[in-house]
């Protein structure tokens, strides 16, 4: 039993890292632009479909690098054409727009690539189980965690050590002052949206290595990401990372004792956090 719990806790960390990757993208957009991006799952699905389409031309690695960039470019276009018109309005406007976009993305992918799940192939050497006796770890899962870790570290480096990153963080705290100081807020928001959506695209490319590639793939992964943000704390990127990992582990351990509640447990966690510490585990007091 102890072994099973340890297995599942470890496995939960891996799954949680993936949730965190999605949630970080959502959180970035939410913090700076105030948009609750319901189309995030749609961008994730597009990442998978772009990769599937690019693999015959660029190979697995080329697709891994290019597909998220394409998603980011599309994200910036969507932000410039549609989302930017709603800045400053009630967040529900942005929510409704992105909610609609999510359906457009789902039906769009269904129209272009079909409703049928598509077989997505990753290199054979990544598929071999590394250890099924002690860690139950596959090469692909380790690879996923590695990519997530690189993406997260890169993102924190960008946010803390580059001019653009510092402006994004400053804008998160006080956009008005940043604007008054002469920063081009319009471009800052576009870049930030592109960065957030890039993370969704990357999550999509990674997800289809172990999930079926179908138009609904984004929808099934989006809710845990929202929960991760609320548990971790609105406005806090480290909190979002922590939230993602925590719900992954909680869900994993629940499998040992009550398998059919693995999905429900993350919402119970969210409810508990909201009751005991409404701003989330690492959320800033008074900000939300």
């Amino acid at each position: 039993m102890t072994q099973l719990v340890l297995f599942d806790a470890f496995n939960g960390l891996i799954v949680g890292a993936f949730y965190a990757l999605m949630a970080l993208g959502l959180s970035l957009i939410l913090n700076l632009s105030g948009v609750i991006n319901f189309a995030h799952g749609g961008f994730l699905a597009l990442g998978g479909y772009f990769a599937y389409t690019l693999i015959p031309y660029l190979g697995f690695w080329g697709a891994l690098i290019c597909a998220p960039f394409l998603v980011a470019v599309l994200g910036v276009i969507v932000e410039r054409l549609l989302i930017c018109r709603l800045y400053g309005r009630d967040p529900l406007y942005g929510l409704l727009l992105t909610f609609g976009l999510a359906f457009i993305f789902e039906d769009g992918t269904r129209t272009i690539w079909g409703a049928q799940s598509l077989p997505y192939q990753v290199p054979g050497w990544l598929l071999s189980p590394l250890s099924s006796a002690y860690f139950f770890l596959t090469g692909y899962r380790l690879f996923m965690v590695l990519i997530v870790a690189i993406a997260v570290v890169a993102m924190f480096l960008i946010l803390n050590h580059t001019k653009i990153g510092i402006r994004i963080r400053a804008g998160t705290l006080d956009l008005e002052t940043v604007s008054v100081l002469g920063v081009n807020v319009r471009m800052l928001r576009s870049l930030n949206f592109g960065l957030g959506v890039y993370l969704a695209g990357l999550a999509g490319v990674l997800a289809v290595g172990q999930l079926g590639l179908q138009p609904t793939i984004g929808g099934s992964l989006i809710m845990p990401s929202f929960v991760a943000i609320i548990v971790g704390g609105l406005g806090s990127l480290p909190g979002t990372l922590l939230g993602g990992l925590l719900i992954g582990v909680a869900s994993g351990i629940t499998t040992v004792f009550w398998p059919s509640a693995t999905e429900a447990v993350i919402y119970v966690m969210m409810a508990l956090v909201l009751m005991v510490r409404p701003r989330g585990l690492l959320g800033e007091e008074g900000r939300f």
């Binding site: 099973l4 105030g34 598509l118 192939q121 099924s132 604007s179 398998p259 939300f288």
Partner: protein, 422 residues
């Protein structure tokens, strides 16, 4: 306010509201596959076109459309042309499916109702059809009560019951793979009844259940369940998950190397799932409810060729055949009864044998009287990688054809007690 306007604050409450909004989806009006007649007979299809079961729904629709063309080409139903009214039931929202069924019956005045892939939705709209006394065919919702404890005089079913699928595969598995079974089962009506059926069939043959997990519908990560399955050290891991869940579960089981240690198997398997898997994950022993590669069965080759014309060159799946047989059932019922009166049609279909060009299987298929369940052949075999030089969609090797009547068990066991209107 300018586009660069400073944000209105996002409150936690707004995000929680957003979550609630996810459930509030309305669907557009039906689209109608129209014929040329003035007073057409109407068949309403209330089946998923979006969501998890969209691919299966699309294939059932393709089968329906081919049948519609053939029925109209042969003079329609009772000399009247036939229209097919298609509604998106969604993949999992029973409220929407029921609302669409009521709309088709009350507003569009359909003569027949066809649906639904999701067992729970099929059961829900079957109750509407019963309440309104409309002749209904369930093409692909498998849960047993629809033609068992909740059977209705006017509700017929094309696909098998879960118990039939379980009975068909159980003896093969016991013989070839072993007696200790571990179940990975989706946590809803279809999964529950399928597991119960397999447990029953397995116990009868001397096998045992050494463990199992119920997985929420839409599970993406199966690793925790697979860890438990491995810890139990079974002979066979039984996957009862369907659709996208099955793709995820099998893909991950193979990545963990479980296929090297245990026999992977299940009851129902679908070509749509195998097509979505990478080649190395096309493994395991399963039941197919219909298969396209039957070189010695009359009319199958023509059917496959016709479907390819409607599907962009793809072969028909069991779902395509379900849709095809469901629509033909409506036409044949009217033809047999020489009437569109639901009671007369339902009575005419008791024990009715489908003609070979519709049944498309070696031993034919008939609707068992007093249950309204189609009793067809079942195809037991193994998933395979597409043979070199063969059709890339030939992903199943049939090893045994089980006669439906052998898998169906006695009528009394189904629990169906039908009450006819007086």
């Amino acid at each position: 306010m300018s586009n660069d306007g400073i944000n209105a604050p996002v409150r936690r409450r707004a995000i929680l509201k957003a979550g609630l909004a996810l459930g509030a989806v309305q669907v557009a009006s039906p689209f109608v596959v129209k014929s040329l007649a003035d007073e057409p007979v109407k068949i309403g299809l209330d089946n998923p076109l979006t969501g998890t079961y969209a691919a299966l729904g699309k294939n059932e629709l393709i089968g329906c459309k081919l049948a519609l063309d053939q029925i109209n080409a042969k003079g329609g139903i009772l000399g009247r042309k036939v229209d097919l009214l298609v509604e998106d039931s969604t993949s999992g929202d029973a409220g929407t499916a029921v609302e669409k069924a009521r709309k088709l019956i009350d507003r569009d005045k359909v003569d027949f109702l066809v649906g639904n892939i999701n067992s729970a939705l099929a059961a829900a709209i079957a109750n509407v059809a019963y309440e309104k006394s409309v002749f209904m065919v369930d093409p692909g919702g498998h849960t047993d009560p629809i033609t068992g404890t909740n059977c209705h005089w006017d509700v017929f079913r094309v696909c098998n019951t879960t118990q039939m699928e379980a009975n068909a595969v159980a003896s093969t598995l016991i013989k070839t793979a072993g007696k200790k079974w571990y179940y990975i089962t989706p946590d809803y009506a279809f999964g529950h009844t399928l597991q119960a059926g397999l447990e029953k069939a397995c116990t009868k043959l001397g096998g045992t259940k050494i463990g199992g997990d119920l997985t929420p519908l839409g599970t993406t990560d199966f690793s925790s369940y697979l860890i438990k399955a491995q810890a139990a050290n079974p002979d066979v891991i039984i996957f009862l998950v369907a659709g996208d869940d099955a793709v995820n579960a099998l893909k991950q089981a193979v990545q963990f190397g479980l296929d090297k240690k245990y026999h992977l198997a299940g009851a129902q398997q679908e070509l749509e799932v195998l097509l979505g898997l990478p080649p190395e994950a096309r493994i395991g022993t399963w039941v197919f409810e219909w298969y396209w590669n039957q070189p010695n069965v009359p009319h199958v080759a023509e059917f496959v060729a016709d479907i390819r014309k409607h599907s962009g060159g793809h072969v028909p799946t069991a779902r395509t055949w379900f849709g095809y047989a469901a629509l033909w059932t409506c036409a044949l019922a009217a033809q047999q009864a020489k009437s569109l009166d639901a009671v007369k049609m339902a009575k005419a279909m008791q024990g009715f044998k489908l003609p070979p060009e519709v049944s498309l299987m070696p031993d034919g298929a008939f609707y068992r009287a007093a249950q309204n369940q189609l009793i067809p052949d079942l195809y037991v075999g193994n998933a395979q990688q597409a043979p070199k030089g063969g059709d890339p969609e030939d992903l199943f090797k049939v090893t045994e054809i089980v006669k439906g009547i052998d898998a169906a068990g006695p009528l009394e066991d189904t629990g169906c007690k039908m009450t006819w209107p007086t």
